[in-house]
Symmetry: D2
Subunit: 343 residues, 4 copies
């Protein structure tokens, strides 16, 4: 069977997670997120992000995290601003709109929102009350094209949001990959400092499932559990999420896994560069988008699976390659061998 670079959720969980599940299996625990593992996981996360007053909630998926957070934070007349390629705008089957809120989309060069983008949306919505009040800014880090926010970009965005009474919410389905990228200059503490809330994705970084929602802004923490329950996000066996995040955060495993995924991607990227290949976007995380001709794509497809992402011209298309915590050195070496043949 071909090895798949289609995504970072093709395998199960890191073995330490399975071990921990087995170890704690028969210990009785309280339900609904009050188990001791979930509480410990929350502590680890608060320490890591230097956010002692944060509220941490574990849920099973990213769309669930997004829709629960956004609908809990907004009143009915408040809307969301997101990049046009933002996951909530294009890939969640109207999950946010189904809770009653419009998303204003902004075309961006690299998937990242900047203050001017948001200001433009606000400028176009001055005809009150016929037009909506923008209230929440949604960003992804890393973005859907693999790019990351610099410290300056994040800080400027956050300060802009505060000056406009906007909530800044970061989708961190691949936050580990962003924070361990070689070009990253955002510290863990700054993620918490420069957002009102964010989530830390487990599904795409070594967990069976699970995302940890971190609400930094105390004004937004109140009564969040009701929303979790109402949206079907409160697991009776929260222990499953607790055990996983406890292991992922213990001894930095989560970030080691993300770093591993990034390094594998960078090795592949280098191989494509060596043969003179262009990329759709310049990324330093676990997603890369080399531009290849049809013949090259065909050759690579013989032994590997991946998505053809975007047609560039009649000859060439960008493909998407995603590495993960589970991508081995052997696999990468084998793939690089194939790349070398493309020249």
């Amino acid at each position: 069977m071909k090895y798949s670079f289609k995504n970072d959720y093709s395998e199960g969980a890191h073995p330490r997670i399975l071990d921990a599940l087995t170890k704690h299996n028969l210990t009785q625990q309280s339900g609904y997120g009050l188990d001791e593992y979930s509480l410990q996981a929350a502590k680890f996360i608060m320490e890591k992000f230097d956010a002692p007053n944060a509220a941490v909630h574990l849920v099973s998926g990213g769309t669930q995290a997004n829709l629960t957070v956004i609908s809990a934070f907004l009143r009915p007349h408040e809307s969301v601003v997101a990049a046009h390629i933002g996951h909530i705008f294009t890939n969640e089957s109207g999950a946010i709109e189904a809770t009653g809120h419009k998303i204003h989309s902004v075309q961006t060069i690299d998937g990242k929102l900047r203050p001017a983008d948001i200001q433009n949306v606000m400028n176009e919505h001055q005809n009150i009350p016929h037009q909506l009040k923008q209230r929440l800014v949604y960003i992804s880090n890393s973005t859907e094209t693999g790019t990351i926010y610099s410290k300056q970009e994040l800080q400027e965005l956050y300060e802009f949001c505060k000056s406009k009474n906007l909530i800044l919410f970061m989708d961190g389905a691949r936050l580990g990959h962003a924070l361990t990228a070689e070009t990253n200059d955002v510290t863990f503490a700054e993620v918490a400092k420069f957002t009102d809330a964010f989530y830390l994705g487990g599904t795409k970084n070594g967990a069976l499932i699970g995302e940890a929602i971190i609400i930094n802004n105390p004004a937004l923490q109140d009564e969040f559990e009701f929303h979790l329950k109402q949206k079907g996000a409160l697991l009776a066996k929260g222990r499953l999420l607790g055990i996983q995040f406890q292991e992922l955060m213990r001894n930095n495993l989560y970030f080691e896994l993300a770093d591993h995924a990034n390094r594998q991607a960078m090795k592949i990227k280098a191989a494509f560069s060596e043969i003179g290949c262009d990329f759709l976007s310049e990324t330093f995380t676990n997603q890369i988008f080399p531009v290849l001709n049809a013949k090259q794509i065909e050759l690579l497809s013989e032994n590997f699976d991946f998505y053809i992402w975007k047609k560039i011209n009649n000859e060439k298309s960008a493909i998407r390659l995603i590495t993960s915590w589970a991508t081995t050195d052997e696999t990468v070496a084998g793939f690089i061998n194939e790349i070398k043949k493309l020249k």
Copy 2:
């Protein structure tokens, strides 16, 4: 630490599930429910319930199953009829109403809905269009008080629903316990035959998490995946659910576990009966509700945890005891010893 009879989701998963997760851990699979385990689990379920044309979808929790199913099946002006103690009416924090639908509640003796109950609701809602159109009947089996539907009851309810153009949906969070109760006379095939849709609960019967939604009525199957995605119920790593249900359905494990839980409860029930104890309701599943005086409750509480469920009078209250697949013979024997002392 005290042993807890508070619920049936205090432990992890049956060891065969953990083994299977470990065994398949590094096999790459498609995401979003298209992994081979989910497909195999669906086959097993369809075979078991003799429902070759059913659509099977695996989700992570019961509230999620309920809200996704109900909102997918109804148009905005259609409402739900449920028992007053129905889980969706009292214990899901308005999850159904949050999708826009009213639930009409009916007081029942034993948690079970009967045709006359539904007819009464319909009779009271004749002032069209000022009053809503009832369209879906929600029942739980076993019910929230541990009772079960007989074949005749289920069939009559289903036939009534068909005659009134009502959808019959069964919450099967504890369906295994219902179907393996010693008084049960409903076959697996009849569950599928006499409902439009139901779900089979894993969380309360040996899985880490997971509920299997089975849609029998072909008219209701269409485009259900969109609703799963929109409600945050479509897991990227659907394999986690697939592997679990594959194991649970293989060689009948699921029903063996439920049967085990029922038997443990029946032993405890017998012990209470022997000391002359009354029960809040006559149950044959894994929930029992003995009525005790304050002194008896205090004594039992010394070494065991449980909920005081309902005050009966100034002297007595019913407690709730729930057994599970993980309740051992030793635990039960120890508890029975304590019961004997209460006389």
Copy 3:
């Protein structure tokens, strides 16, 4: 054609309203509630209710008022408490639930909610976050059975609500009738003082259409216009509502019309009393519910239309009679003649 006592919205508008519409017809005005008539109407209302800091919004109907107010005031996990016969619970086709909020209903003797009723609902919803947070109490004055709140009842209810962080909202579709009832002891100022918001109904008291929403609690006034627009309640030609309420509030016309309707009902009530008739409820507003036998109902039906409201026993039923601003002395005299024949 038979005269109808079925409701108080069978005719058009008081002639002074039609005159004013004609008089101002060609004067150009701003749209969306910013016309000078709406502003003047708001002033009149604020003066009448001694509520100088209230926010007043005119909308076209009662269901619209209820759903816009309630959905604007609540967060997604907050619910409503109402009497079982409350208009929003039984006669608005799920309008409130369609905005995502559950209504907890309470059985009452006379359609009026009391603190103990609400406390009971709160007591039954302590299992947080599995159960909802009650946040808004909905009452009608006069109620759906024609009864009214005394000053003491209203004050106690309001103080209870404040002590529990509950919003008190009064549906005033027939508030004029309540406040002009001979048994009423609530002043205009007390209506505003002892509610967070209420509305004053025009549709059932002499307007073509229209209800005036008055938000007393400043914390609830913010950005309400967005909600009006979003729910389709903001009329481009708000002038239609403004002119009507300006006329209704000018020189107390609104209350004179309600008083007239009440007086007509009281004359009819006296006639039924004289022949020894019982009533379903003791009312002093424009709704009366005499209990008659089948023969009597048949006789009265020959020349008059009304609803048979409730079967009392095999012989008798209560009928509902509603008078209005347009019910003439001649009509009442004719009807009383018929009543006398029933003895």
Copy 4:
């Protein structure tokens, strides 16, 4: 006071409407749209549009019409396609999203949607079920920039929609102006033939308020009254709407009024053309968008009110002028005098 060309809802109603309201004022009628005027108005409309099997419903405003129709027609996972300047996308404060549905917007040259626009949206939403199912196409005629659909354009759009299982819904807030434009070639019958539903606006064409929803497609007519009630759109005194539309449709008054408005606009347009003025868009309805320099705008503003619509460059802006049934020849002559001075 300055005369305002800001919109077509600045005045009250055509005098024949006020006369009819007065004439029928004390006639008792059934409520909720069952009055004889509403029934007659429906008949007139069905005759005019040659749509004997249509269902006609009268509501008070355009946003209300849009949100009630769209939410009634769609299931939760179905979305809407609209022009970027479509009223529902930009000017209804998220009314459609508040009912749970996403609107995909399309940039257009002239405010009109074409099959290719919709096909593009569908092409970009092939990743099922992560992306939504497009189900309803929303168009306005005349559009928000005053342009109109030709017969060929409408027919092609409708046929495309049918081939793709899409519902075609026309917002006719200014449908009268479209159908009486000198360049219009769409017959009344073709409006009904080439849409699944549309509405005919009264508010902007001589009524006090009111829009008539016409549902041509029988598959979409079912149980629509529930939705009207649930969304607060069902007026107790439906007679107000019935009387107005009865008068508007009797003897073609509605279309005479629209034609009058168009003619006044065309006279003004000709005057601007004569002085060599450009227009933002070429319109033949009651909206015109002449492009003027700052000095010209200042001069015109001395005696007339209008919106500055869009900045064209540093020197010039387009203004928006709207005429109505109430715009007199004298006003137009006076305004043309001012235009002549601008040369």
